[in-house]
């Protein structure tokens, strides 16, 4: 590593800490590196322009954002929640279970944890706190915890980002997230059951079984979305990127035609909102593209691999160290930044140790999602605190048992690769 590189790194950190957009900070740092090295500084913009223009798979991102935004505007979420309530609302702590199951279903439609918390989360927090059945902080905590499942079960925007930096197939990465996502749902439901007993939560008014067919029928078009999406991808009908367009189109059709719940004005503001989110995350990707050029030029990943080799870590020791590092980084960094900047640095080491890169991707993505609910910097925490108007400290106290449960799931996902990889292998993955 040369001096210009160290200087550019220091500059990026200083600019980012000063509150500059992380994407711009990386573009600035990369430019300084090129200037100090005596190269043409336009290489930074060239890398950015060519990188964005040639990253066809990344186009899944605006489409998944659009699909989730449309679903959140339409009454899709309400109908899904009523279905989940009819399904699991009759048990003690029922609305907690509804929260878990609805997140599992919704995550089969959206690729974003934040979309889950903002859309479904807002409604279910309202249901849980109405009549004072559950404390606002508990409702907030379980909503944040279940939202982390969103990008683990396909589709998933973070997996698309990882696919970009690791050159792995999006289809296999999506399939690899399936079992871990279900496991996370299971441990959260178990924890909810234990807490509901201990804190003696009420049994909610259950939907009579005779209502079940009607509620299911009303939710049916929405429930078909994950089936169409995954069927399309794994049936080999469409590419994951095209599947994202189909999902957005389907969500639009059922919201407008079947549920008649989206007006033209709402559709315009949804489009605009999605486009704004796309531009915001796009600049982060653009910054990562330019900085990855610098990292590659400086041969950083291989230097890290050589450095790590000194410790003679076993595969498992390395995975443990990665988990600890990423969890620590997740407390202060954005998930997208972790996946785009930090993950690629360790990919050659993982490869050298014989770690499967699809498995590694799932471990890294789960880690970055846990980062969203670990204080002090956790996006999901801020969102649920904003919805419930509860102090962060109180939400975090109620969140601790769920974080512990998710850590246990993460450990299992990390150390039992076959659990993650059996599904992609069934679909033809040779790893």
């Amino acid at each position: 590593m040369t001096d210009p590189f160290v200087l550019s790194l220091i500059l990026i950190v200083a600019l980012a800490l000063s509150g500059l957009s992380i994407g711009l900070a990386m573009i600035c740092g990369s430019s300084i590196y090129l200037i100090l090295k005596g190269f043409d500084p336009s290489i930074a913009s060239e890398t950015l322009l060519q990188g964005l223009f040639n990253s066809y798979t990344l186009l899944a991102i605006p489409l998944f954002i659009l699909a989730a935004d449309i679903m959140n505007v339409g009454s899709l979420a309400d109908r899904l929640l009523r279905f989940c309530q009819a399904l699991v609302g009759r048990f003690r702590g029922g609305l907690g279970h509804v929260n878990v199951v609805s997140s599992l279903i919704f995550s089969g439609m959206s690729g974003s944890a934040v979309a889950d918390a903002v859309g479904m989360g807002r409604i279910i927090i309202g249901m849980m706190t109405k009549d004072g059945k559950y404390t606002a902080s508990y409702s907030a905590a379980i909503t944040a915890a279940t939202a982390t499942i969103g990008p683990i079960i396909p589709p998933s925007i973070p997996m698309v980002l990882y696919a970009l930096v690791s050159d792995q197939s999006i289809g296999y990465l999506f399939a690899a997230g399936m079992a871990p996502g279900l496991l996370m749902g299971l441990v959260l439901a178990v924890m909810n059951t234990i807490i509901a007993r201990r804190r003696n939560f009420p049994v909610d008014n259950s939907v009579p079984l005779s209502e079940m067919p009607r509620v299911t029928w009303q939710a049916f078009p929405a429930l078909m979305l994950p089936v169409i999406l995954l069927g399309g991808i794994y049936g080999g009908v469409v590419t994951p990127t095209e599947a994202a367009a189909v999902a957005a189109f389907y969500a639009l059709v059922i919201s407008v035609v079947v549920y008649q719940s989206v007006t033209a004005g709402q559709f315009y503001s949804t489009l605009l909102n999605s486009a704004r989110s796309t531009a915001t995350v796009g600049i982060l990707i653009a910054g990562a593209l330019t900085f990855n050029y610098v990292i590659t030029r400086e041969n950083v990943p291989n230097s890290i691999a050589d450095f790590m080799a000194q410790f003679e870590l076993s595969k498992w020791g390395f995975l443990l160290a990665i988990n600890l590092l990423f969890l620590a980084l997740g407390c202060i960094l954005e998930a997208g930044a972790i996946l785009l900047i930090i993950a690629p640095i360790f990919i050659p080491t993982a490869q050298a140790l014989g770690i499967d890169l699809v498995h590694f991707g799932v471990v890294v993505v789960v880690n970055s999602m846990l980062g969203l609910i670990t204080p002090p910097y956790g996006l999901l925490l801020f969102i649920v605190a904003n919805i419930t108007k509860q102090p962060l400290a109180r939400i975090v106290r109620d969140l601790v048992p769920f974080i512990i449960a998710l850590f246990a799931a993460l450990a299992f996902i990390t150390f039992v690769p076959d659990f993650v990889l059996f599904l992609p292998r069934m679909l033809g993955y040779k790893g």
């Binding site: 500059l11 200083a14 600019l15 980012a16 800490l17 000063s18 509150g19 500059l20 957009s21 994407g23 711009l24 600035c28 430019s31 500084p41 336009s42 913009s45 964005l52 223009f53 040639n54 990253s55 066809y56 186009l59 605006p62 489409l63 954002i65 659009l66 989730a68 974003s112 944890a113 934040v114 903002v118 990008p151 925007i157 973070p158 367009a245 189909v246 957005a248 189109f249 315009y268 605009l272 486009a275 704004r276 796309t278 531009a279 915001t280 995350v281 796009g282 600049i283 990707i285 653009a286 960094l333 954005e334 970055s368 969203l372 002090p376 910097y377 996006l379 801020f382 969102i383 904003n386």
Partner: protein, 173 residues
């Protein structure tokens, strides 16, 4: 002053219209592509190229003219916890460095973009300098906004210094 503000509001709304249109056209092109490839069995080339251009333009145009300062992805863990006086110093520092670097590299970037006139895209035969031209307004917008941030830091009259940094949220994580 009010008519100037009104003009800015008007232009901002038009920029929003354009950005929404870019995403809508990207979405529609994908649907056309899917219908032609899988239903009519006629693969199209131009849609792949069009969506790539729309993606590039959507990001750079959107960031330059539509995304607001509080939408931006930033690390506010330190910034949010220091006194206002230090925040102002940080704004001046980050703004000056950012504006300086973008300004310094602008001539080279201009050369690169105009140089790309020699290449055309594969299907639609659009000259690459047109495709990449959006980088110039993007860079100019970054420079101007950074300088505005410097001015806010120096003068200290911006509402954010009064209420403190609020947490933001995004829907792509």
């Amino acid at each position: 002053m009010t008519s100037l503000t009104r003009l800015f509001d008007f232009l901002y709304s038009r920029a929003e219209n354009i950005l929404a249109l870019v995403l809508a056209s990207l979405f529609v092109s994908f649907l056309i592509q899917i219908v032609f490839r899988y239903v009519l069995n006629l693969p199209l080339g131009w849609t792949v190229e069009y969506v790539s251009i729309a993606w590039l333009w959507g990001i750079l145009f959107g960031y330059a003219f539509v995304v607001r300062e509080d939408d931006v992805i930033r690390l506010d863990i330190v910034y949010g916890s220091v006194p206002v006086a230090i925040q102002r110093i940080m704004d001046v520092f980050a703004g000056l460095v950012c504006a300086g670097i973008f300004l310094w590299t602008l001539p080279n970037v201009w050369d690169y973009v105009t140089f790309m006139a020699i290449e055309r895209t594969a299907y639609m035969q659009i000259r690459f300098d047109y495709v990449f031209m959006i980088y110039i307004p993007f860079a100019l917008s970054v420079i101007i906004r950074s300088l505005i941030s410097v001015w806010h830091g120096l003068s200290g009259n911006h509402p954010k210094y009064a209420v403190g940094a609020a947490s933001e949220m995004h829907d792509y994580d």
